[in-house]
Amino acid sequence: MQIKEQSTQYDVCIVGSGAGGGMAANKLAEAGLKVALLEAGPFFDPAKPEYQTQLKWPWESPRRGAGSTRAFGDFDAAYGGWEIEGEPYTRKNGTEFDWFRSRMLGGRTNHWGRISLRFGPLDFRRGDYDGRGDNWPISYDDVAPYYDKVDKMLGVFGSKENLPNEPDGYFLPPPKPRLHELHYIKAARKANVPVIPSRLSILTRPINKQRGVCFYCRQCSRACRVYADFSSSTCLVIPALEGNNIDLYTNAMVREVTTDENGKATGVSYINKEDLQEYQVKAKTVILAASACATARILLNSKNTRHSNGLGNSSGLVGKYLHDSTGASRSGFVPALMNRKRYNEDGVGGMHVYTPWWLDSKKQDFARGYHIEVWGGMGMPSYGTGFGVSEMNRFVRDATVGGYGSKLKEDARRFYGAVVGMSGRGECLAREDNYCEIDPNVVDKYGIPVLRFHYTWSDDEVKQAKHMQDTFEEILTNMGAELLGNKPGPESQYGLAAPGRIIHEVGTTRMGSDPKKSVTNSKQQLHDVDNVYVVDGGPFVSQADKNPTWTILALSWRTSDIIIDNFKKMNI
């Protein structure tokens, strides 16, 4: 698989094999273009036993699945995390940003909730709506045909709801709600908060012969051995490798885009992690899909006399307008769920129901909105199970906290599956002063200058988190829950997670029609260099309160069609 030095001149070189890169590789190879696909991590295929964590038991890990090696625990499919040895990043002026990287085939599509939401018409024109940012240069109608195609190609379950800013897709039928989700529906509705079936890219029915159907183990985060959920490796890259048009370079850490005397891209240079030598891949077109921040890093590091500010950065905006989703959570102990009858309620790897944003943002004291994810149930034990179980006795009359012996086993049994929680995921305003840039003093172990982050939450995000907490409290109370922990207040920004923690960062190469105010055009092509495209979350002008993957996929397909069209024209 590893090719060292190549004389091949590729049509296209793609950096990154996640959602954006995987889609581009798949579509361009299918169209007959010769593709070099570079991935900074190793190969990964959950159909092969050596990669599998799915259906393992907690005792198969000596740390019982704890997160001391992998950020989300031993059984999570994603290699990497917020900290990677030898690959530092820094932060400026005491601000916070945590950068999650997953170095492996499929990238971060190996770790996500499979929540696959289309952006709505409003999400593409926030400038018109509230003046707190800019419109996209494209509308929902431009992207809709690609959302349709992505739905059919990759599969997503959901339900037709006809909500104005939550467009419906070609949905497979969703699974029935679990017990705690029925409690959530009832309690949320009582608080005038709507609930609908969730929209996840998991196959409840077959869409092709290559992928299996969900067998309800609740472990999408572990990567599915029958490919019943979407990840870029299993659904885009691996199938495309069966053709002869892709050369996959794994463990290839891209340093920069190389350019010629006319300022055009000629390919990329990368460090081969295995021999630590630097190589070049030559291509007529370069597609960056390394993730919003990693792509910004590559562009900024592609500095030369012609591009003194970094490649594609005449606007000075590469790395700017970085924004991640807001996130805050709360949980409660629900007495009605004590002493539950046991049955298998694993279901799919994620919630079966959720709440899309339901209010008029103009009537709130914060911008934009958030959706609510709900969690709970009789999940598989792992490290942490049993911690503090006895504390729940505080909510039970005449019961004692603490102790030892059979009483503890009794506690574990009766409180099992009685905690329900919810998390808000909201839209953060895109601001020029939230950014990543090159740290002038630090390189990683490959000698590549690293990113330095500057990021603060504004009052809008903090107030949004406060609204989340009030809503969670109301719904949990309606459920008859005893709230766990103190309600997060202003001292903790209402429990607002640190920037980067929700892993939805976008915006660093934002698109627009004015080259002074944007990095890419509506085709996701650099304004400055017409043979370089960006197909990760970088070109997002605003992020919506929706997980970005489905939009990355749709936009990457759209850009791939444009590139294919260009090649056809050239060849004719």
Binding site: R63, P174, P206, S390
Partner: protein, 242 residues
């Protein structure tokens, strides 16, 4: 008639397709118990048996080769674990479930546990020495329990023993988590998942007991599991029509 498939066969069948739909039609659920022998066989695969990268395997191996807890510390932990979770009519003891070995590993994996565990054990020996003139492990069971009774109930602890109570709470947490992540613990808890199956909603009797029901409008949107092997068809309005 109940057709029983073991875990391995079920997974294999789901890979080939078809069987899961059949399970629904026959109203059968695969058996919940796992075949521990096949698990052992699975551990022989590359990736350390649970999908490790080379670096992760090296880290696991290095941790296993390290020693942190002394024999005396481990002996004390063993006594404590079995006071915390003794064998009873429902399940085996913490040591039956291998909890002391788990704790010996986890303090190496998570070094922040090292001082609280080691220091807590020293605290315990000091306490038993001052009360009974012996180390904790050498005390009679009754004397051991006398000390534990004073530190096991965080809401009722004498302020002079608060550090001991904190240590005992840590030992309780580690013992509980070490226990409920083993087969013995999982069987006691009654977790019956982690096996291929076809989810078709909350059982009727549970709904009844909870005073809840699925509303028809919602149900009409959900998967009819008899169609789980059928390719979908939509009309142009995005309605699922087949």
């Amino acid at each position: 008639m109940k057709k029983k498939l073991d875990r391995r066969e079920t997974v294999k069948s789901l890979l080939l397709g078809g069987v899961a739909g059949g399970l629904v039609l026959q109203g059968c659920q695969p058996g919940a118990e796992s075949d521990t022998k096949s698990e052992t066989a699975e551990e022989q695969v590359p990736g350390g048996g649970y999908g490790r990268t080379e670096e992760e395997m090296a880290r696991d191996q290095a941790l296993k080769e390290q020693e942190f807890l002394t024999a005396h510390e481990l002996a004390t932990i063993t006594v404590l674990c079995d006071i915390i979770l003794p064998a009873d009519e429902n399940s085996g003891s913490a040591t039956d479930a291998g909890v002391p070995d788990f704790i010996a590993f986890i303090v190496k994996d998570m070094p922040y546990h090292q001082v609280p565990v080691r220091g807590g054990l020293m605290w315990l020996d000091h306490e038993s020495n001052s009360r009974f003139g012996k180390k904790f492990v050498d005390c009679t069971a009754a004397d051991q329990v006398a000390i534990i009774d004073d530190i096991a109930y965080p809401d009722k602890v004498d302020p002079g023993l608060s550090q001991g109570a904190k240590f005992f709470s840590l030992m309780r947490d580690l013992t509980m988590t070490g226990f409920y992540t083993t087969k013995i613990g999982i069987d006691d808890l009654g977790f019956v998942g982690n096996i291929p199956n076809v989810w078709d909603g909350v059982p009727d009797e549970v709904l009844k007991e909870q005073g809840l029901e699925y509303d028809q409008e919602w149900l009409s949107k959900c998967i009819d599991q008899s169609t789980r092997d059928k390719m979908p068809e939509w009309d142009d309005e995005k309605n699922l029509i087949g």
